[in-house]
Symmetry: D2
Subunit: 357 residues, 4 copies
């Protein structure tokens, strides 16, 4: 069995579990008033080059929905990609936590939203047209749900459109570390310097265990979010065990190492599909005919258009992955995925391709 | 001033206000336990050829949102046209009353949804994929928000797709009487015989005053809806004054007369735009160049693509209507609109067209 | 049959229906942009000696729940009497519209809340104790649900306690006119001059037909409330027909005349119970033994403790009223109730009392 | 510093963190489809002598509010003690998750609710009186928020009252293990055999780290709860790390050992307060004058009425505890609290008592 189902099927990084263990000393006040959580605030503020407030939460769905609920009123509109996780995979959590807060799909390529398409959406609602809902938030998924990454200038273009209308910006960074590894810029540059107000920072999919985080860049949203988290049952009483995980997650650049590792395996697979498997490092092979990447592989996910029979053959051989359509498969590389696993997949694709086509 | 802004700018039909007056006799128990409301149940059951439950409500938004909230769970998905009033003009009411209940836009022409597009949407969600939300309801706007009308066989095709997946059908009939006048079929044929479970029945836009109605065709949804209406402050204590209005609305076919009257004026305008104004009843004139109906005029609304300068000219002359885009105007015919008003509009269009083009 | 069930079983005042009829002229823009609604703002501002914003709504439940939802956050606490209509009779509407907004019962006599009991409740929640909910609003029912009326100084005492903690004050004035008739003070004195921020102003129970009102004394709550009303389906498109009713309701002091009329009948019954029926205006009779008013009759409601057999006997004779316990009955006087009805009740009480005791 | 603030300030049991570590092997499907979570179902079914469904969740607030939301409709009423954690300390979470679901306080002693008081509450709402809300659930806190424990026959009496009206029973068992240790009966006897439909099973306060559990005894509530958990962001993708903790929690009776340990320390303190500190095991000392237990100490919490000056003195010496009133302090014993800590507290009480009284 080789597992490409999701980055959440993988192990936790040992450093993270070790930190959890080390936090098990003495007594500490509950609900985030402990020293680990205080240190977390400082550490992330340093990391993001700005005073931030960090809230550990159990899941990415909680991070997204509660962030959005704190940014927009119940009659607000949240602009996102049709393919955004918040739109496709969170069981209406935004609408629920937001008291009716509504998602509006905006066109764009590869899971991104397009700045111009956003501008058009906004123009369709005049000031004071409350019956249309109140344009309130833009939510950007970085990396996107098709494995692409927004370049910084695209983020800035979208932020400019949003700012004109007073919209807030939320970033769903369940794969923020993968994006950062790709962009090779600082966390600050990839977030608040591009206009992001609140970041859902994923850890679980990138070697974490039981917690993700919300990073708030604007103090005015903190209190409202804190009370919503408490009410939602997302404020652990033994918070130290969550904060310790997040401290370990960024310690010595662990998060980036993990993100880079996953990206590298994904790039290896993508290269194999596009170029065949090169004999040597320099020679460029031939693409696999009949297989196509439907989006650029810029993080740790690969979306392949391929014959149904080929999917059958892979499954028969023990490869685990998710079908996303009759001819569409998603392969996700965990941070603990290996080159051997990648090469095994490429070999299997090559082996079965002729018969399947 | 000639007013084409909306069908809700018009007067109430005198019969309706008279009925309200006549209901002002003696005492009557509150919250719908009065004789008028009892009679309303009987009268509508007769009209729809089936035992129905009718709830008078203050507005169409209440009728729609509360109907949908009674049909779908908070994690449900409601499929509707991108242009549906529930999607564009009700301030997230469905999401609010439905506790997060989510609208999903389905493609289609002229404000309709397409049966095949719906089928594709449904196929994308496998059974048990709760993270995607639960496909729950189809909401059809009849007449549509672009002034078209679903033919019965199209309704049946959509109902068949919905039934396969166990979805419920809601009809937003804020202009149901206009649609009925067009279809020339019975209320039963245009509703539950096509699979409709709950109908929002508009009266306000068609000569009513202060109430619309919810007509429930399936008893299993009644109690849940009744309690939601009470909680929403949509159960009048002096219900007799609402029920009396609705009784008058259908008495002697008043609703159909009013719908037909509004449709006829709209058709007159459409004909004038498409054919010029014919000299005689039989000769066919020439279309107005540079003006285009963007949807078939099958009820009482006309959507015209036309030069911006022409809109300016009409406004300068005192015509009232709403702009829906830089080159798009909506003209709505009230049930008390007149042929003179229609002809004045056509004349103005003809007069200003050359200069504006 | 003599009907003491509720003040909402009665007729509408003819002046109100006439006004509705007179508003049926010409076209008018929808959703409150019409001249009647504009005039309503001016008229009520004059009446309340301050710029106010008035929103007509369908019911008292809508008025209360939406007012409270605009005053408190979803994690807020609303302090009210155990017996308050919002606590006993609105199907959780406050919690629903308020997104979880919670009612907290405060002790007091005769349906009032006690200023000291409120102060104690507030002291139990320290600043920053968000897990306890946020003290946000006090809701006062005037007249109370036991037919008593808060004197102005008591209102001021409560307001002072509330102000110390930054709480807002809502008044459920479904019987505000009855209270005003009793207090013999100006509307301003009985509302914002006592600290009231938003008033639910009842009309239905006092000779209205299909609408009540929300009167907002603080501009900062208007916009938030306006959008919530729209979303709740409580913004009529043909608003003129609602505003016209409310204009007529206060014209020439109609509301006070109606309130006074209802109060007078209630006082007559109370006097009869407490003093027997005096032969002449001056002589004082003897109280009816075995019957007791459980609260002072200061508005139009009478709560009688009386033998069960006496309730049976009254019902057998055709009197309509509600039982509120095995030995407790409520009698409500409509604005169109008559002295004959009151005297008939008193006579029946006297007639059946000996046998029932 | 000796810490009696809460049982959530303590360490996690080493066995629980070890289990988490051991679960970090290989890949596993997400969202509860892993082998650990499957084993959890079996293990708890065995433990509770009945097929149950277990959902790990992040906190007790989530466990309570989501359980209640799955048991009652939004217009439902949940009967609980005035002092119940859900009523005092969860930021309106029940109302929020329940869409307006309302808490109603029922009288009783020591944080319990009284069966007769419940019966009276229920009698006050006739069938069909939807405006009063729908009686739906009874929530019992075991052990109570004053440190008492319901005996089984009292639970059964309450269940009988509830059953007559078709109400469901929820048990807030954030200290269920402490109660079980006291009752010395089986988990089944203390839960579903007494009528409990859903149990919030606490682990965090009793040596857990980052998760509690919901145990569902009736299959008909499982699916509805599962989807609500997912939507609430309370379904971890790497669920194995939560399930492994819960498996370890009950392995070899760990939970009961921990509960017993905490109870024993509390009993030691209570005995010291009531009897003075006995010289020998058999002799009975004298109670500390001026200090009073306000509820029987049957679990791990002690509520002491004592002079304010005594609280000051304890704090000055480094004891940590929470004040619950001007003369009321709460002391909670962690599962890792020691006899030395207890004795130090008793000694300090004795030492400062004379001066403080």
């Amino acid at each position: 069995m080789i597992d490409f189902r999701s980055d959440n099927t993988g192990r936790a990084a040992p450093q993270i579990l070790k930190a959890l263990q080390e936090a098990n000393e003495g007594t500490a006040p509950g609900y985030g008033a402990d020293p680990w959580t205080a240190r977390l605030q400082d550490r992330f503020s340093e990391l993001f080059e700005r005073r931030v407030r960090v809230f550990p939460v159990a899941t990415g769905t909680a991070a997204n929905a509660l962030s959005l609920a704190s940014l927009g009123p119940p009659w607000g509109l949240v602009y996102c990609s049709e393919m955004a996780h918040i739109n496709t995979s969170e069981t209406n959590a935004t609408g629920f936590f937001g008291g009716g807060l509504k998602l509006v799909a905006v066109a764009g390529e590869h899971g991104r939203i397009d700045a111009r398409a956003l501008a058009e959406r906004l123009e369709a609602i005049g000031p004071g047209q409350i019956h249309r809902g109140e344009p309130a938030v833009v939510s950007l998924t970085q990396a996107t749900d098709l494995g692409a990454v927004y370049p910084l200038d695209e983020l800035r273009r979208i932020a400019a459109v949003a700012a004109k209308r007073g919209l807030r910006i939320h970033m769903d960074g369940s794969r923020f570390a993968n994006a950062l590894a790709r962009l090779e810029c600082s966390p600050a540059e990839a977030s608040w310097r591009c206009g992001v107000d609140i970041l859902s920072l994923g850890a679980t999919k990138n070697g974490g265990a039981l917690c993700d985080a919300i990073v708030v860049f604007r103090p005015e949203f903190e209190d409202r979010l804190a009370v919503q988290l408490r009410r939602a049952g997302h404020t652990w009483s033994k918070m130290r065990f969550a904060s310790a995980q997040l401290l370990a997650y960024v310690e010595d650049g662990l998060w980036l190492d993990l993100g880079r590792a996953a990206n590298r395996i994904a790039a290896r697979i993508a290269a194999g599909v596009e170029e065949g498997t090169p004999r040597s490092g320099t020679s460029r092979g031939t693409p696999m005919a009949g297989i196509r990447l439907i989006a650029p592989v810029e993080a740790n996910e690969i979306f392949l258009e391929l014959p149904a029979a080929l999917m059958d053959a892979l499954e028969a051989e023990g490869f685990l992955f998710y079908r996303r359509g009759p001819r569409l498969a998603r392969f996700v590389c965990r941070s603990d995925a290996t080159e051997e696993e990648a090469d095994a997949l490429l070999a299997a694709l090559r082996r079965h391709l002729p018969a399947a086509s």
